[in-house]
């Protein structure tokens, strides 16, 4: 793509509309952005006369520019996308589910790389240009999942960025996967994963210790799958926070699902939120239906970083999911009855790493000069509409390059 060009008629949010003290809408304006080397080097009003330096132009035609989305929790190696339809086979236990999955994947007519690429294509089209994927590590599979996922990611080089969690799906201790996780961390995984230290590994303390030990050894972050609810789940979170603090791992640890947070009461809820905020532990939710989930608005208000991911997208665990993280953000808003202009606009932050075009007071804070030219272009008048109405996204830009959809090129 062009090294330098102008992006014309970009709609950006400029402030709140306020009526009798309440935010009732969002003001926007049309801007032109100069892009060079994948960064924003100038922002000007469309109406301001100015030299366009004879540079090439791309026309956004009034589409709303939003910060690019982050898919914070998916499993590129698990998806069946691109293969034939199959429902979920009934399984009597979690462990039987492990077996069904391990048995099914090698028999498919498509390769894991092909399926992962199908999913990446979906994620990208939905607007996600950063993807955190878990990859299964268990003795029978060796590093094969990691390798296939890495190959798939390589074919999206330049279109998105990614981070890979070394995920001992069948239990870090239970399947003695410490060695293979260590290998995976050397082989390109940036995070140590885990699953239910109590229920799956049967030893919360040792499981968490081992995770943190691996993380420190490899200078890696942590992302733990925690489905365990109630007291056990809350204890697991507290202990993980302690270990993170001891290791100086503040801001480097996530807990995915964290259903136990739905079981907090009164003072404990305040304390736990404080603990998560202080230790910089992020909570990641796929907003599953039909079960209690972490109280996202409560946590967000107390400074806990919350992110959303699609999790299972047509795999051996779930036949649902379409890879559209914006749809998930809308589901989150609907789930918690967040339907005013500000509540909806705030929900966008859960899929952008906290970046929203306006801050709480309606001050424009994004995009800024020097920011990466990475955008989702939406058919919407503002962030709130985008979230509530699941806006169409005609184009996605990553570091100055259109990576999904299209914008019109205007010749000089």
């Amino acid at each position: 793509m062009h090294n330098a060009y102008w992006l014309l008629n970009v709609r950006l949010e400029t402030g709140h509309e306020v009526e009798s003290g309440a935010v009732t809408g969002t003001k926007t304006g049309l801007f032109r952005l100069r892009i060079k080397d994948g960064k924003i080097t100038a922002i000007a009003n469309m109406s301001d006369a100015g030299d366009i330096d004879g540079l090439p132009q791309l026309d956004a035609r009034g589409l709303l520019a939003l910060p690019p989305f982050i898919e914070k929790h998916c499993h590129l190696d698990k998806t069946l996308l691109g293969d034939r339809w199959r429902p979920v086979r009934p399984a009597a236990s979690l462990f039987e589910r492990f077996e069904i999955e391990a048995r099914t994947l090698p028999t498919l007519r498509t390769t894991m790389k092909e399926r992962a690429e199908k999913l990446l294509e979906l994620l990208l089209r939905a607007g996600s240009t950063h993807i955190r994927t878990h990859v299964d590590l268990y003795p029978e599979a060796g590093l094969r999942h990691l390798e296939a996922v890495q190959e798939a990611l390589a074919s999206f080089e330049g279109k998105l960025t990614s981070e890979i969690v070394a995920f001992p799906q069948h239990g870090l201790l239970r399947t003695q996967s410490k060695g293979i996780v260590r290998e995976a961390l050397r082989g390109g995984c940036g995070l140590v994963g885990g699953v239910d230290p109590h229920t799956v590994d049967g030893d919360m303390e040792k499981s968490l210790q081992t995770m943190m030990e691996l993380a420190v050894e490899a200078n890696a972050d942590v992302d733990l799958h925690l489905h365990d609810g109630g007291r056990i789940g809350l204890d697991t979170i507290r202990r993980l926070a302690q270990l993170a603090d001891e290791a100086g791992w503040q801001g480097r640890v996530s807990v995915s699902h964290a259903f136990a947070l739905a079981d907090m009461q009164g003072e404990e809820a305040e304390e736990t939120a404080q603990l998560l905020a202080n230790s910089g532990i992020a909570i990641i939710t796929s907003v599953p239906l039909g079960r209690a989930i972490p109280p996202v608005p409560f946590l967000h208000d107390r400074g806990v970083h919350v992110a959303v991911g699609c999790d299972n997208i047509f795999d051996s665990w779930s036949p649902f999911g379409n890879g559209d993280v914006l749809e998930r953000a809308g589901r989150l808003a609907e789930r918690f009855g967040r339907k005013t202009e500000q509540e909806l606009a705030e929900a966008l932050g859960f899929i952008t790493g906290g970046v929203t075009p306006l801050d709480k007071d309606g001050q424009p804070v994004w995009p800024k000069l020097g920011d990466e030219a990475s955008f989702v272009f939406a058919e919407a008048s503002c962030s709130a509409e985008t979230v509530a109405r699941r806006a169409k996204r005609p184009a996605v830009m990553h570091r100055g390059t259109i990576v999904a959809g299209a914008l019109e090129r205007t010749s000089l």
Binding site: T24, R89, F320, G337, C382, A388, R389
Partner: protein, 408 residues
């Protein structure tokens, strides 16, 4: 109306479940040809078709599903098709009603046009039957309903409809009894109401009045009951009694029916009673604080319809209008993840019609069934529900009303 006669060729029809070790692991399906005549599916054939001079339209292997039914929506008051507006904070249902006093007259000039946009959208997703509630209140009188009916007129021949005269501001509370009577004379098919306990403040008198009007007009009934707990249960028990007394079996619906989400024993008992009296319920499949025991109610034999309710309006900004997505959400919510329960969940949006019955026997389409169908890109119903299959064409009475088909 002049209906075309033609063969819809290369239609994928489900023929049975596929088993492995006793589990249903998939659905078998085969290509068929369907002769469409007088808006009905006159015969089903397979293999080589003899040349009979009839025109042919090629479904090119798309899966045939019964058309969807949008059973609870308000096409008369919406922001859909207009500029975006978020929801303003309001003080409960009465705050919203207060808001409507100012808002509804403002929406009236665009009401018909927006209702038409909504119908177009519903149709594109595969719904060829729409039950809409229309505000009947002292602010707009019958004008919302008139606008909705003009929109429905525009879509006559493309979808069927029912209109509920809905006294949103309270049948008694807003003194709307005569207005509702007038609405029935003007063509509403159902008498509506909202929360006889909390809005009207008199369960018995409110419901009695609803039934009186319904009997007078020989019309159906569709009552919004958001009230939970004892108030909601008492309301619905009284609905059952009045239904029985009036001999109105099969003609009464309770929308939302949130009180079913309370005490399980009371809910099960009431479900049995509803099933016995043919009282149906409609649900938006809520998934936040409140979760309806829809599978239990279904198992008890209660007819359940789904609706989008609001697309984007002053109550909620979230509706998409896709009934198939609703069915998928229902399946996800209740963990219907295996082939059979996914396939059967289609029945929630088709008035109970599924291509295969629970035992896997093909029961649809049968000769003479209305040619109200959706052609989707999927291998079976289960896939269509779970994967929210792309809708390629929608037929109503055999006529193409959305999407496209190849002519041959």
């Amino acid at each position: 109306m002049n209906k075309s006669v033609y063969w819809l060729v290369n239609v994928l029809l489900e023929t049975g479940y596929r088993y492995e070790d006793g589990d249903i692991v998939g659905t078998d399906a085969q290509l068929h040809h369907i002769r469409i005549e007088d808006g009905r599916m006159a015969s089903v054939a397979s293999g080589e078709l003899p040349e009979d001079g009839l025109p042919r339209r090629d479904a090119a292997g798309l899966l045939l599903l019964p058309a969807f039914r949008e059973m609870h929506i308000h096409i008369d008051k919406t922001y859909y098709g207009g500029p975006w507006k978020a929801v303003r904070p309001a003080n409960g249902v009465f705050g919203r009603i207060e808001e409507e006093r100012e808002l509804l007259p403002k929406l009236l000039p665009t009401a018909q046009q927006r209702a038409e946009k909504m119908l177009e959208m519903l149709l594109g997703f595969g719904s060829t039957h729409v039950r809409t509630h229309c505000n009947i209140d002292p602010v707009v009188g019958l004008r919302n309903m008139e606008a909705a009916m003009r929109a429905l007129d525009t879509y006559s021949g493309k979808l069927s409809h029912e209109v509920v005269a809905f006294p949103q501001h309270g049948l008694l509370r807003s003194d709307a009894v005569e207005l509702v009577r007038e609405a029935m004379r003007q063509g509403a098919t159902h008498v509506g109401a909202v929360d006889p306990a909390t809005v009207d403040g008199d369960i018995d008198r409110s419901l009695q009045t609803v039934m009186d009007i319904a009997i007078e007009a020989d019309a159906g009934v569709d009552i919004h009951v958001h009230d939970g707990g004892d108030a909601g249960l008492a309301t619905m028990r009284r609905v059952a009694e009045l239904t029985e007394q009036a001999g109105w079996q099969g003609r009464v619906t309770v929308s939302h029916a949130f009180a079913f989400a309370g005490d399980a024993a009371a809910a099960a008992e009431l479900a049995g009673r509803f099933a016995e009296l043919g009282i149906s319920i409609t649900s938006t499949v809520p998934f936040g604080g409140l979760i309806m025991p829809l599978p239990m109610m279904h198992a008890k034999g209660v007819a359940i319809g789904l609706g989008n309710d609001s697309i984007t309006d002053h109550w909620s900004p979230f509706g998409i209008g896709d009934c198939l997505e609703k069915a998928g959400r229902l399946a996800e919510l209740y963990r219907f993840v295996d082939e059979r329960s996914l396939a059967q969940s289609l029945g929630y949006i088709t008035g109970g019609v599924t291509p295969l019955d629970a035992e896997g026997r093909r029961v649809w389409p049968a000769t003479g069934d209305a040619a109200d169908v959706v052609l989707v890109q999927a291998s079976c119903s289960a896939e269509a529900v779970a994967r929210r299959a792309e809708r390629k064409a929608v037929l109503f009475g055999g006529e193409l009303v959305a999407g496209a088909l190849e002519k041959r």
